[in-house]
């Protein structure tokens, strides 16, 4: 019933490669595999390890549990662990190796982490998005660690002639009586032995964990980050390289009519100008039409780009006006749409209602705006290509680059640097394709550097939306019917011919999975065509849905004379496990790629996190005039997060002096990084609430840099953020953490603002000033 479909595989880029070359023989790449690893099998019964299925098995290239791929041990005992997911700040490069190290009893201070290149056939899935890294890899990381521990014990058993079952492996030492050996001493001996199967492994009990679920380990790269030595996308150089800065069509599907590069070529350091031909939508991650200026340094390239005289043909989207379009979407939301979920008899509920109540909530486009603007280095020669860059999905980048260059993926290597933030933007590796095409065209290594203006104006943006919610109320003011029409251009428009309708992944993000205990429910989707490139933004469609539903609950509470928390709890109802089909969910309901059996919607967990957040902030306490508390709770990425925001208007500016986030993410492997993700979600959520709006006039983005696309800063961020993690044992499946903190923050702030001032905001961004 439930199935996963990777939308990124719907279409392939068709950008014209400047040079066609033939295929050559496969090149062998140096990988992170364990050239010197000693591994042997240990006999023994399988411990109780409550394995559960995840969507990880059904992702492209699935999961790998072979320790030889991920672990190597040097003679001096240094344990090198391969991090195969991209690090963009969520901590996956720390947490997955930390789990391996704990289960193998390696000393974290003697662990070195090595970033994998893009190679999914070898490492399994590397597409680092969807808050999947821990959810999909905690089990494989434990298995890999346990395998290595057993193999080291087995090697010692053979050497000392004692039963493996009597051998202790503890903190980088293998011990039996008076015998002891370091990991490095045993590595070579164990190397020839086979890898044990899962059923032969002994796993640590939760009480035996040294790092997992415990205090803090220093994050990977911390020393380099604090000394400037850490390597991000723009920090690698090759001899003879040029730097390219590109003038891209300001309008989606615009094309170049004419170029005058006279002034550009006068700038010292400018070497040449190359036109990149764009691909009409749907074009997946193909570059926009543009004109690249290649220079000896970045400054010359920027100046050269700015000096270009280009006449553009804006094409079919040259009249896109986001303000006018918003009015159209609001009108569309008033009309019936395509029905995605139908439960009970909605029309009867509304026709028999004693009262009805309806509101519409909107959101403008947003840019992810990671602090590191897009950048990638490519070195393309006749028979191979090598890239370096901050890629969220390096293997997808590798196969796409191979295709546009006319190469076999075996001829392409994609190296992953640290990502200076991602938030979904670096899932689109258009910037890597640009670098590869330009390097191929110029015959030298090329670094493509986007400016901040490029980042905002040639973005793959978050959608824009109008969400209309209507409820039917009986004579006792009980909600008997719920209608939610979600109108927003779809991400699918970059992958397939735009139908104007959302697809199941978007509708699964807070629309059809509305979890309230209401007998009659209809979820509809009105048509909205895309006029700019729509793609992923941290938490994706959950942001407008949590915004709409979270604000609506508070408005309904005010309408019915209830307090917000009572209204939330009335709607959530008694604790239940949602049966999606019985509640009219679509057959292709998308549960973040997980089965509803393994990761069901449990409304008791939803109510619990709301309770925790409300209690933490002292919900119901008396506050001075001009202050208020807002609540919101939302399930996304199979996690449950509630936000309680204390809002205070100071000199006409919205401030948040206190906020609490309660999260139920199943078993938490690295609470320190969960806390940091929640602290960050509070800040990004407040930025979404107050500032994040990209607007379009004549088809082009109107904002250009941080002066008009503002961010919450240290002079006004949510203060005193309390993060409350619901304690769960390993048997409660680990869920997602990178994204689900963001959605409830904006509605909690808006609801707090309402209680502080009586002003109700229904449009994001709401602005900082009242």
């Amino acid at each position: 019933m439930l199935h996963f479909l990777d939308p990124k595989d719907f279409t392939k880029p068709r950008a014209d490669a400047p040079i066609e070359i033939g295929k050559v023989s496969r090149r062998v790449f140096l990988g992170g595999s364990a050239a010197g690893l000693a591994l042997v099998a240990v006999s023994g019964a399988a411990d109780a390890f409550p394995r559960w299925p995840t969507g990880g098995e059904t992702m492209p290239h699935g999961l790998r549990t072979d320790p030889l791929i991920f672990v190597s041990i040097a003679p001096d005992g240094t344990v090198t662990l391969v991090a195969h997911r991209s690090e963009m700040g969520t901590g996956s490069k720390t947490s997955i190796p930390m789990i391996m190290a704990d289960e193998m009893e390696a000393d974290w201070d003697r662990v070195v982490i090595q970033q994998a290149e893009g190679d999914e056939p070898k490492y399994g899935n590397q597409d680092t998005d969807g808050s999947r890294s821990l959810r999909h890899h905690i089990q494989m990381a434990r298995q890999i660690g346990a395998s290595v521990r057993h193999m080291l014990a087995s090697a010692a058993s053979a050497e000392w002639g004692v039963p493996a079952s009597e051998i202790k492996v503890e903190n980088h030492q293998v011990i039996h009586g008076s015998n002891s050996a370091g990991f490095g001493d045993l590595a070579e001996a164990a190397m020839a032995l086979p890898v044990p199967g899962f059923d032969d492994l002994h796993f640590k009990t939760e009480e035996q964990f040294r790092y997992i679920g415990k205090g803090k380990v220093q994050i990977a790269d911390l020393h380099g980050i604090t000394t400037g030595a850490a390597i991000y996308g723009g920090d690698i150089s090759l001899p003879g390289q040029l730097v390219a800065v590109i003038a891209r069509s300001p309008v989606m599907d615009g094309t170049v009519k004419s170029i005058d590069d006279t002034e550009t070529m006068k700038i010292p350091g400018v070497v040449r100008v190359i036109e990149i031909k764009g691909t009409p939508q749907p074009a997946k991650f193909a570059p926009l039409s543009g004109v690249a200026v290649l220079a000896e340094n970045t400054w010359a390239a920027i100046q050269g780009r700015d000096a270009l005289e280009i006449e553009w043909d804006d094409g079919p989207h040259g009249s896109y006006d986001s303000e006018a379009y918003m009015a159209e979407m609001i009108a569309t939301a008033d009309q019936p749409g395509e029905v995605f979920r139908e439960q009970g008899n909605v029309d009867q509920a509304f026709s028999e209602a004693a009262n009805t109540f309806e509101r519409t909530y909107t959101q403008e486009h947003m840019a992810q705006a990671p602090m590191e603007p897009l950048v990638a280095l490519a070195n393309v020669t006749a028979d191979r290509a090598e890239l370096w860059g901050p890629f969220q999905s390096p293997y997808a980048c590798r196969t796409d680059v191979a295709q546009v260059l006319g190469m076999d993926p075996a001829q392409v290597r994609v190296n992953v640097t640290l990502l200076g933030g991602g938030f979904g933007r670096k899932s689109q590796h258009d910037f890597g394709i640009e670098a590869a095409l330009l390097s191929q065209g110029a015959g030298v290594p090329v670094r493509v550097q986007w400016t901040r203006e490029d980042d905002l104006q040639a973005c793959f943006v978050h959608t824009t939306s109008a969400e209309k919610i209507s409820v039917a109320l009986d004579a006792e003011n009980k909600v008997t019917g719920w209608k939610h029409n979600s109108v927003a251009p779809s991400i699918l428009s970059i992958f397939a011919k735009d139908s104007g309708h959302q697809f199941f992944i978007e509708s699964g993000m807070g629309h059809v999975d509305m979890p309230f205990d209401i007998p009659n429910v209809r979820c509809e989707n009105g048509k909205a065509m895309a006029h700019t490139r729509i793609a992923w933004f941290r938490a994706v469609s959950n942001i407008p849905r949590a915004w709409a539903i979270g604000s609506f609950v508070s408005e309904l509470a005010a309408e019915l004379g209830k307090d917000d928390k009572t209204m939330w709890m009335d709607l959530i109802g008694p604790a239940r496990v949602v049966d999606p089909l019985a509640e009219g969910y679509p057959e292709n309901f998308w549960n973040y790629g997980e089965s509803a059996g393994s990761f069901p919607i449990e409304t008791g967990r939803l109510a619990n996190v709301l309770d925790v957040a409300a209690d933490a902030i002292g919900y119901g306490k008396q506050l001075p005039e001009g202050e208020g508390i807002g609540l919101a709770v939302h399930r996304s990425f199979v996690s449950y997060v509630a936000c309680a925001a204390h809002v205070k208007v100071v000199d006409g500016t919205i401030t948040v002096p206190e906020m609490h986030l309660a999260v139920d993410a199943g078993f938490i492997a690295n609470p320190e990084r969960v806390e940091s993700q929640m602290e960050g979600a509070a800040v990004m959520g407040m930025t979404v609430a107050l500032y994040s709006g990209l607007t379009y006039a004549d088809g082009a983005v109107e904002q250009s840099n941080f002066h008009d696309y503002e961010m919450v800063r240290s002079d006004n961020f949510p203060r005193n953020v309390g993060v409350h993690m619901v304690p769960n044992g390993f048997s409660t499946h680990s869920t997602g953490i990178g994204e689900p903190g963001v959605p409830p923050v904006a509605p909690a702030i808006a609801n707090g603002l309402f209680h502080a001032t009586g002003q109700r905001k229904r449009a994001l961004p709401m602005g900082a000033d009242i």
Binding site: I219, L222, T226, T298, L418, L419, Q449, S676, M684, M711
Partner: protein, 150 residues
């Protein structure tokens, strides 16, 4: 040709007068710890010290630093253990880490001028440095730890 002190050593650079210090550092001098975030003095990712005070390297041309002393994140401390760097590690401040060199340089400059700032003084001094990941709570706490009042 502008001549200046770079992390304690004499340096001259052959670059057009109007090249921002940021790109001269990154492209011509191989010091990539100073990051590009906006190019307009709006985000603080490229913060360096000029004669000991925090400045945005994207807003200074190479000719403007002639005769001055430039310190980048690479030169903040000979062993990378400036008290601000240590405080950052103690609190595991970074998420993606990209803005952190600029944040650290800003904080070090603040504490040089004001060894025991109030919370409000920390918040004001750090307000020019954006962290999109939202590490502000830990940044403020780390500045407090590194201060004489910490």
């Amino acid at each position: 040709m502008p001549t200046f002190s770079l992390n304690g050593a004499a340096q001259s650079v052959d670059a057009p007068d109007d090249m921002p210090l940021l790109w001269a550092l990154r492209d011509l001098m191989g010091l990539t710890g100073t990051k590009y975030g906006c190019g307009a003095g709006l985000c603080g990712a490229c913060t360096v010290h000029i004669d000991g005070k925090a400045e945005r390297a994207c807003m200074l041309t190479i000719s403007q630093i002639d005769g001055k002393s430039v310190t980048t994140i690479e030169g903040l401390s000979p062993d990378g253990n400036h008290k601000v760097q240590q405080a950052w590690r103690e609190l595991n401040v970074p998420q993606c880490g990209f803005c952190q060199a600029g944040q650290i340089m800003q904080a070090a400059s603040l504490l040089e001028e004001n060894p025991n700032p109030s919370d409000d003084e920390i918040l004001d001094a750090m307000a020019g440095n954006i962290c999109r990941c939202g590490c502000y709570e830990r940044i403020v706490a780390a500045v407090r730890v590194a201060s004489t009042g910490g």
